[in-house]
């Protein structure tokens, strides 16, 4: 089989590759301009086809989150066709490295019910406090987790009651720094308390001392600062609110001296105020020591004792970015990202959402990312994440048993102030057609939206606070026949929804809409209609098979057209992840990357509206965006992101030879350019980088140990060559060429 496939691939390539000039040079074609593309006549795709390594780069840039050093050679050796087929079969990939990293997030494997029980959300804690509908576990550590949260929320409430008026004045002191965060009170605040600081297998601290330090390193201009500001506000407020037990150095040292298990047992045995006092008394370095030697499970316990909801949201994001960076099944990750964006769900819709999203990404989207669209659509329609996000879980048929019952209650007890809301909600019905399937011009009317909402009544969530699984409630389902897009759907309970989803998934409008989106993601901001047509045909003939559609895309001349080479501007996610991949950085702490994405306007799971993020250049190329990208490039290259370490001297060049310490600036530039931007950069970029490189060299020669450089460098012992490499690499990552894929 293997031996057969190779010649076949070669023949295919021969057919597709243009017979044009054999004199292929390293020259970079001038970038096309997506924003203006619509004004130009479309190029004839048959004529200018990519050749050689540019084809490999095109595939790597589009079907992965960007090439790592050595990827081009590996694909060249394997053969492009074979590589692509392997990417369509993620189950066959060796993911040893990725899995070792994912072991840091053991709870990401738990069921929603387990997550909700063992790492309770704030909403559950409030229920436990008020109605008792959520029982407090009696088992030791779990009991402590619940009690600590009750204490924390009560302190917060007391503080709010006491200091409401003060808040406004305080806000002015912040001087706009928290504006960097879309919801400064949200997920990433944790970065400031140092709890995400990680320790490597030998127990060495690898991330420095957390955000306070990163803030110094980055200057006041980066989001870690913003986070630390928000965090420190909370900390100081917390200290004034509750009368916690302060711990002195001896008491702290005694806890830290315990073995891993005993240490965590001791923490779990503390009374809530004692625990709070202990955590608040820790200096950053002690904070790190607290985690030394702890297994992932024990680390999880420590974090859960502190704030379980925050930990779930953080790890959800960290796990996703870890996969984007390290998974070998890159196309699977790219498509998972694509569908998570297509079927967008916002992390902060409610307090259960981080919990639902764990299963949403893991059980709903990823296993179907390369499967049949209808399976995916069904699974999404039944996911608690989507049902909660677009409110379908709340929707009740106006003539259903549940509505009639509510009506009777209202008649019997008109004095009851709080009206039970029992009726239709058309939010999901509309977005299902507009954004998930037919597209806004897919030919549906307002009447269709209302009918679809009726069809889907009863699709909801079983015990949202403790179970969080799909459930069809026939009592809430609207009786009677419905009519959608001119077609009758007979009364049939849950099966009505199935029939509807099948109808939508197999509509030609859906085929065009989905294929158009895919073409924008993979080919160009303004994709050739012929290509979209061909993909849509493939969608229809394969029963909506996503892999088949991608194969059609892969075999289309439009994909391999020179006009579409480097034609896509990277979104912030693509930029950040591709930079980390290209630099082969070791990432032990993903949160600084998540903070960067938030700063750049693309927080993970952070799109509020159901459209998700745009894939087009016009959204992402702006003045503020460039500033953020350049600063990120320099920070990443100089190891100023805590927990992210790039080692430039060790990056081998393409010939496989290790870095040469006697290297000339030109040879260093060539080595790093080949690693970071294998397609090459313009002479302008190269000479600008070299000029700066020379300036840095002169500066280093003049100062035995430049103070500024030493202070800025986390490692503290970077050699002159390493510092030069860092600047050079930062300039290359921040260059115009690296902004495209």
């Amino acid at each position: 089989m293997e031996s057969l496939r190779r010649p076949l691939a070669a023949i295919l390539c021969l057919l597709l590759c243009s017979p044009a000039s054999l004199g292929y040079t390293q020259q970079v074609p001038s970038p096309t301009e997506p924003a203006a593309a619509h004004k130009k006549a479309r190029p004839a795709y048959s004529s200018k086809q990519l050749r050689g390594d540019q084809r490999i780069l095109q595939a790597l840039n589009r079907f992965t989150f960007g090439p790592r050093p050595g990827d081009v050679e590996a694909v060249r050796a394997e053969g492009l066709e074979k590589w692509f087929e392997a990417q369509l079969h993620p189950e066959s990939m060796d993911e040893t490295d990725l899995n070792a990293r994912l072991a840091d997030f053991p709870e990401m494997q738990w069921s929603t019910e387990d997550l909700l029980y063992r790492l309770p959300s704030n909403a559950e804690i409030r229920q436990a406090m008020t109605t008792g509908r959520v029982p407090i576990p009696t088992d030791g550590t779990l009991h402590a987790i619940y009690e600590n949260q009750i204490y924390r929320l009560e302190a917060k409430k007391a503080e709010k009651a006491a200091g409401g008026a003060e808040n406004g004045a305080k806000a002015n002191d912040v001087q706009g720094k928290e504006a960097a965060g879309k919801d400064a009170g949200g997920t990433m605040q944790l970065a400031s308390d140092g709890s995400m600081v990680r320790v490597d297998a030998q127990g060495n601290v690898v991330t420095g001392t957390g955000a306070a330090d990163s803030a110094n390193a980055m200057g006041a201009d980066s989001s870690p600062t913003a986070m630390s500001t928000a965090g420190s506000m909370e900390t100081s407020a917390g200290q004034t609110a509750g009368a916690q037990t302060a711990f002195d150095a001896t008491a702290i040292a005694a806890v830290l001296a315990l073995g891993p298990e005993q240490r965590v047992e001791r923490l779990a045995a503390m009374q809530p105020e004692e625990f709070e006092g202990f955590i608040k008394s820790l200096r950053p370095v002690e904070r790190v020591q607290l985690n030394v030697g702890l297994s992932p499970g024990l680390r999880l316990t420590v974090r859960a004792l502190e704030n379980p909801e925050r930990l779930v949201a953080e790890d959800l994001i960290a796990e996703r970015l870890t996969r984007d960076i390290y998974s070998n099944a890159q196309l699977d990750e790219v498509m998972t990202d694509f569908w998570l964006n297509h079927f967008n769900v916002y992390l902060r819709k409610n307090e259960q959402m981080p919990y639902y999203l764990v299963s949403y990404a893991r059980d709903t989207i990823r296993p179907r990312a390369l499967g049949k669209f209808e399976d995916l659509l069904d699974a999404v329609a039944q996911s608690p994440a989507m049902l909660a996000y677009l409110d379908n879980a709340q929707s009740v048929g106006p003539h259903s048993l549940a509505a009639e019952r509510a009506e009777r209650v209202a008649v019997r007890r008109p004095e009851a102030k709080k009206k039970v809301h029992e009726g239709l909600n058309e939010n999901y019905a509309r977005e299902l057609m507009e954004l998930h399937t037919l597209g806004v011009n897919g030919g549906y009317t307002q009447a269709d939206v209302t009918e679809v909402a009726r069809v889907l009544t009863g699709w909801g969530i079983d015990r949202p606070l403790v179970a969080g699984s799909f459930n069809f409630n026939p009592n809430r389902h609207e009786p009677g026949t419905k009519k959608v897009l001119g077609k009758k759907i007979k009364e049939n309970g849950e099966m009505e929804g199935r029939e509807l989803l099948h109808m939508l998934a197999s509509s030609p409008a859906t085929a065009r809409f989905i294929c158009g989106e895919l073409a924008v993601r993979f080919v160009a901001d303004d994709p050739p209609p012929e290509l979209v047509d061909r993909m849509a045909k493939s969608y229809m003939s394969s029963g909506g098979d996503i892999a088949a559609v991608l194969r059609t895309l892969f075999r289309s001349p439009e994909f391999w057209s020179e006009a579409n080479y480097r034609a896509k501007v990277k979104t912030p996610l693509e930029f950040v992840v591709s930079a980390v991949r290209a630099s082969n950085a070791s990432v032990r702490n993903v949160l600084p990357l998540a903070n960067q994405l938030r700063q750049m306007g693309m927080p993970v799971y952070g799109s509020v509206p159901p459209t998700g993020y745009d894939w087009k250049a016009s959204t992402w190329v702006s003045t503020g965006a460039l500033v953020d990208r350049m600063n990120f490039a320099l920070a990443l290259a100089a190891n100023r992101l805590p927990g992210v370490v790039a080692t430039w001297a060790e990056v081998p060049d393409l010939a496989g030879a290790p870095a040469d310490t006697s290297a000339t600036p030109e040879s260093e530039e060539a080595r790093l350019e080949a690693v970071l931007i294998p397609g090459g950069v313009s002479e302008t970029t190269r000479s600008a980088a070299l000029q700066q490189f020379a300036a840095q060299t002169r500066q280093d020669a003049g100062l035995a140990q430049p103070v500024a450089a030493r202070r800025r460098n986390r490692a503290g012992n970077a050699t002159a060559v390493e510092r030069q490499d860092q600047v050079l690499a930062g300039l290359l990552i921040g260059s115009p060429e690296f902004q495209r894929r």
């Binding site: 970038p31 002015n172 509309r430 750049m600 003045t623 503020g624 965006a625 700066q692």
Partner: protein, 419 residues
């Protein structure tokens, strides 16, 4: 035009660059010259997600309002009465004095005439200023600045055109501001610098500047030019020195922060003419609440931020006009889940030193069942372009409204005369 702007700016920044020894007052006067004479400034606030105008400016004399909204209507005794018929939502207390002092006007039953109920289409239509036309690539506010240039015949010489002329607070330039006139987007004034905050640009920043300025990539070359112009201007103007005026408290929210930073940048005399920011969280399909609750919380942030901005601008508020909009309104009836679904007409606020406020403008179409649009929402009686057309012609001096709102056929004699 682009050439001239760039020529000027390079001259301007040269005058400032590398002059750390120059006393700050001198630098300030250079910058002041760069910014030109104090002109009229327009601030646009977009409420994304379709705000519920009927619960924001409440027609509390409409019987059917209460019949259609049994659990979310604002009780008569709780509205902040405006004119005996309309009343503000109780969380808009910060707007009440602005209205009473005659600086704030309201236009009700206003919005985009297009019938779409898609957030995304409706926002695009409103931002492009061309309802129903999808192919429009630029925004009305950008075209208003173009029209201003044309009117002042200064396309070749306008010295007030700085990198900050069209400013968006946020991480991207919204469609409203996109177009021929370069627009800048920034989310954090203090973080807007490349490779450190020293008095002079760092070597890495200079390398980037060269890289982008000479790039063959036109998109990034243009963005790079604007970026470095803006960074230099901001460095020289040092907006961080403009702290909110005494007694001005912005809410500690993203929107509050954006409004605070707009005030900072306006006060720093950077030549901002048009500023844009948005605020989300209005898509209240479920449990939106009445006098208290979800919508009430959004509204107190919204009004407190805008009122703080107004006070913060102090005497300069005289030359500032602020206008708010949202892509469409919400259903007149509450839905089955204590919220409202996508509707049609909405309410707009116009605040400004020159505004004839203290009045609710527009024809009120009524809320009886047979008066509703498609049997479910508030009928539209004022095209939002009527309001914006008046605002841009009276403030920015954009006279050719056909440029700003093509095919809207706006006639000044049909304006509401609210300025």
């Amino acid at each position: 035009m682009q050439m001239n702007r760039r020529f000027f700016l390079h001259k301007g920044s040269l005058a400032v660059a590398g002059t750390t020894a120059i006393p700050s007052f001198l630098v300030r006067s250079v910058m002041a010259e760069a910014a030109g004479k104090p002109g009229q400034r327009l601030v646009v606030v977009f409420q994304r997600g379709a705000a519920d105008g009927l619960n924001i400016v409440v027609p509390y004399r409409e019987k059917n309002y209460y019949a259609m909204r049994p659990s979310i209507a604002i009780p008569q005794e709780q509205v902040l009465d405006l004119d005996g018929f309309f009343g503000l939502h109780p969380s808009l207390g910060a707007f009440k004095p602005l209205y009473e002092q005659g600086q704030m006007a309201i236009v009700h039953a206003a919005g985009s005439p297009d019938a779409t109920r898609s957030h995304f289409d409706a926002q695009d239509y409103m931002e492009s200023g061309t309802p129903g036309v999808k192919s429009t690539q630029d925004g009305w506010l950008n075209r208003a600045l173009q029209a201003e240039d044309a009117h002042r015949r200064c396309a070749q010489t306008c010295e007030q055109q700085t990198a900050f002329r069209a400013l968006a607070l946020g991480s991207e330039v919204p469609l409203t501001l996109s177009g021929k006139i370069p627009a800048i987007a920034l989310s954090n004034v203090n973080g807007f610098t490349v490779a450190g905050r020293g008095a002079a640009p760092s070597p890495a920043a200079s390398a980037f500047e060269t890289m982008y300025a000479d790039s063959g990539d036109r998109i990034f070359r243009a963005a790079g030019d604007e970026t470095f112009d803006a960074v230099k201007m901001l460095r020289a103007a040092n907006p961080a020195q403009y702290t909110p005026g005494a007694g001005v408290n912005y809410p500690a929210s993203e929107f509050g922060n954006n409004m605070k930073q707009i005030a900072q940048l306006l006060k720093a005399n950077l030549g901002v003419e048009a500023a844009f920011t948005d605020v989300s969280g209005w898509d209240t399909h479920q449990n939106q609440g009445g006098a208290n609750g979800q919508l009430a919380n959004r509204l107190s942030d919204f009004s407190a931020s805008i009122a703080a901005f107004w006070r913060d601008m102090g005497d300069e508020a005289e030359n500032v006009t602020l206008v708010t909009m949202s892509e469409f309104g919400r259903t007149a009836r509450e839905n089955g889940t204590g919220g409202t679904d996508h509707g049609h007409a909405n309410a707009m606020f116009v605040l400004g030193g020159k505004v004839k406020g203290g009045k609710v403008y527009g024809r009120w179409p009524g809320l009886d069942n047979d008066q509703l649009n498609e049997g479910r929402d508030l009928v539209l009686t004022t095209d939002f372009r009527q309001v914006l057309g008046e605002v841009v012609s009276q403030t920015l001096g954009a006279q050719n409204l056909e440029t700003v709102f093509p095919e809207a056929r706006l006639a000044p004699n049909r304006f509401l005369k609210l300025i």
